[in-house]
Amino acid sequence: MKLVMKFGGTSVADAERIRRCAQLVKERLKTDRVVTVVSALDGITEDLLAVAEAAAAANDPVLDAHLAQIRKRHQKAGAELGEPELLRPLQEQLDRLALGISAVGELTPRSRDAVLSFGERMSSLLFRKALELEGVKSKALTGQEAGLVTDETYGEAEPLMELSLYQIAEKLKPALEAGEAPVVAGFIAATQHGVVTTIGRGGSDFTATILGAAIKADEIWIWSDVDGLMSADPKIVPGARLLPRISFAEAVEMGQFGAKSMHPRALEPAAERKIPVRMKNTFKPEGEGTLIAQEGDGAGAVARAILLVKDCGLITVTGAAMIGRPGTAARILQTLAERNINIRMISQSVSEAGLSLAVAGKQLQRARGALESALLRTGVARHVQVDEEVAIVAVVGSNMRGMPGVAARVFAAVAKKNVNVIAIAQGSSEISISFIVKREAGAEAVRALHENLLAGVSE
């Protein structure tokens, strides 16, 4: 098999964990060819962000503290792997970069990316060293060196996919054929001019799936500190189960509702080429994890998972003037888009007298302000009501597609617990139903649905 194995931040948080992951790679190399992708050590990206901002603000104490923290962790890891000075050159580069940003007194998106890139650059060197200790020959490559090229949207760079796929294949295929096990720094890439970029949402998972697509991998393994995807948050539903196999569509849907799934952007290259993605736990590697593939395991339950998005606010825009007036919804959505407000859910009744939107809790007040000034002043709407204490409950499952009566069961189960449903939305994919309830009723609704829709299915 050709495999891409990606290790997340907690899995590589220190030398001991890095070694454990290197052993997992070595184990696989007995039968397969492996490309490794690594994230930065857990917490380092946040430290780097703090470095970038403290440098721009010329806040020396904070800057030095974070640089010291980064230096200390990596030096310790290097020492435990037998090479204490392994990361000194990179650390010095980082120190100089911070100095430069301080001198200029300005943090541009481009220089922020330059700072952030150090996390993965350092972890990939540590990982390569750990592999060497296991007797495995490998090279550490930055995203750029592996062939990953993006546009110039620093912080959220979009890969030039065709060029990247071509270049990565040219770079990695010969290495694999020669029996090597390349280690590629996740999350980072470069523009066509060679300037470092970070790829934003999806991060190292996205790197892993792009590499997988380029080398036409048989599977992509995403290693983290969770067993896989669960049928619900175990903190809310004690009986929540590990999902052995789900479809790409379900994984995307679950990710939208906050499951520790992969970002849809990261899933896309794998989904398009039907390369299965396996989510596994480095702290329990013998577990099967969750396999995300073309098809989920259809059997049995009506739903696959019940999810809860707690931190939401609901805005309802009402007014008789809205009825029959085309363009109102567009106005509302446009207003919010202009302020970069992410809309989680939309619901409008046929009477057109009101439109409800769920947004992230922390964007609520800004959204309200934007709508009030855009709509109330001009008389387009009468009221903008805000409900701060709501949650979105989502039922996800590809079995629900084409199955009549599911919505009835969902709302009956919820009604039985006296939970009031405030607004409803069903995606046209038919694999999820989401609705809004009062925040304090969220957990109860999830438990009721889990029991009703998922219980009685054998492991």
Binding site: D151, L160, M161, E162, L163, L165, Y166, Q167, Q192, H193
Partner: protein
């Protein structure tokens, strides 16, 4: 329009001559004033902001082996990709010979052109055959034009014809003869009754085949052109490895004689079907438009409404290919607006 010409072999020199010969007509009909601000060959380069003189360039090349020998403007030792990146040309013509096995250097030159905002006209098939979708993406990302008419069919507008047909109709399938060398060999075997080896020898003698003719004879050249046609015109993303290729090496004379008995001829056909891309010797009716003589090429399209359309013409040649390059230059000139 400031042009940088990469490659000063048969095609490159023909381009320089053509630009000179057509100078007044290009200005009169298109408002186009091409100026060769740089020329790069395998041994060196020449650059001049005021435009280089075609005759001087050709003389330097023919007498001293490189354009670097030209007085005042010549130099050697520089990396072509860097010359391209640093040039202030608006358009780069990539006219170096195709080396299918190592498209890397040509690809680097195209990347250098794209990332420094230069339009590209390319007749080198190598990068087109292995990385077409990537090149398409890169040219769009940098908002520059990318043309390659001369890569298939030399001066004969094979790609343009296919492009035109697609606009109003649907192409159901394509069968084409895209390699003059192998067509010549098969034609000799049929007309003169020669064996493969004898026909090949004659082709080499007449200059229709290289000393090492394997790219032609093994169908690789045809396959690369098929990939370019499929990608560039038919919207079928693919690379060389997606084509099933069989050449004419060692084709027995018997097969040709058998074919003749049934009123057929054997041709090396490049085919785009609904599910497959292939290059292989196939039997074809003797009265089919595909039965072209000597070293000609033929594009055969089957259209849903229009039926069968074919185009016959020479498939290669320095001056012929130069006309295709000029077509692309003119098209790019018009699409970027004459104000530049």
């Amino acid at each position: 329009m400031r042009i940088l010409l990469v490659g000063f072999g048969v095609v490159g020199r023909a381009v320089a001559k053509l630009l000179e010969e057509r100078r007044s007509e290009l200005y009169r009909n298109h408002g186009l004033m091409p100026s060769l601000v740089g020329v790069v060959d395998s041994k060196g380069a020449a650059e001049s902001a005021r435009g280089l003189d075609a005759a001087a360039l050709i003389e330097a090349k023919e007498k001293k082996g490189t354009v670097a020998a030209i007085a005042d403007h010549g130099f050697s030792g520089a990396d072509p990709a860097r010359i391209i990146a640093g040039s202030d040309a608006q358009l780069v013509i990539e006219a170096t010979p195709t080396v299918v096995r190592s498209p890397g250097p040509a690809l680097e030159r195209l990347k250098a052109a794209f990332r420094t905002g230069k339009h590209v006209v390319c007749v080198n098939k190598g990068p087109l055959a292995v990385a077409f979708p990537a090149l398409q993406e890169l040219s769009r990302h940098n908002r520059v034009e990318f043309r390659f008419s001369g890569a298939v069919g030399g001066g004969t507008p094979v790609l343009s014809l296919a492009q035109e047909c697609i606009r109003g109709d649907e192409v159901l399938s394509v069968r084409a003869i895209l390699n003059g060398t192998t067509n010549f060999i098969l034609w000799r075997m049929d007309k003169q009754g020669e064996d493969f080896d004898a026909a090949l020898k004659e082709a080499i003698r007449l200059g229709y085949a290289e000393a090492d003719p394997s790219a032609d004879v093994d169908g690789v050249d045809t396959a690369t052109k098929l990939v370019i046609l499929a990608n560039g015109v038919l919207g079928r993303p693919c690379t060389l490895s997606d084509v099933s290729v069989r050449g004419i090496r060692g084709l027995p004379r018997k097969r040709i004689e058998e074919a003749r008995k049934s009123g057929l001829v054997v041709k090396l056909i490049a085919e785009v079907g609904p599910d497959a891309l292939r290059v292989e010797p196939q039997e074809v009716p003797a009265d089919s438009p595909l039965n072209v003589p000597a070293n000609l090429n033929c594009l055969g399209l089957k259209l849903r409404t229009g039926g069968d359309v074919s185009l016959v013409g020479r498939g290669a040649g320095g001056p012929e290919t130069a006309t295709a390059i000029l077509r692309d230059v003119i098209d790019i000139w018009h699409s970027i607006g004459s104000s530049r």
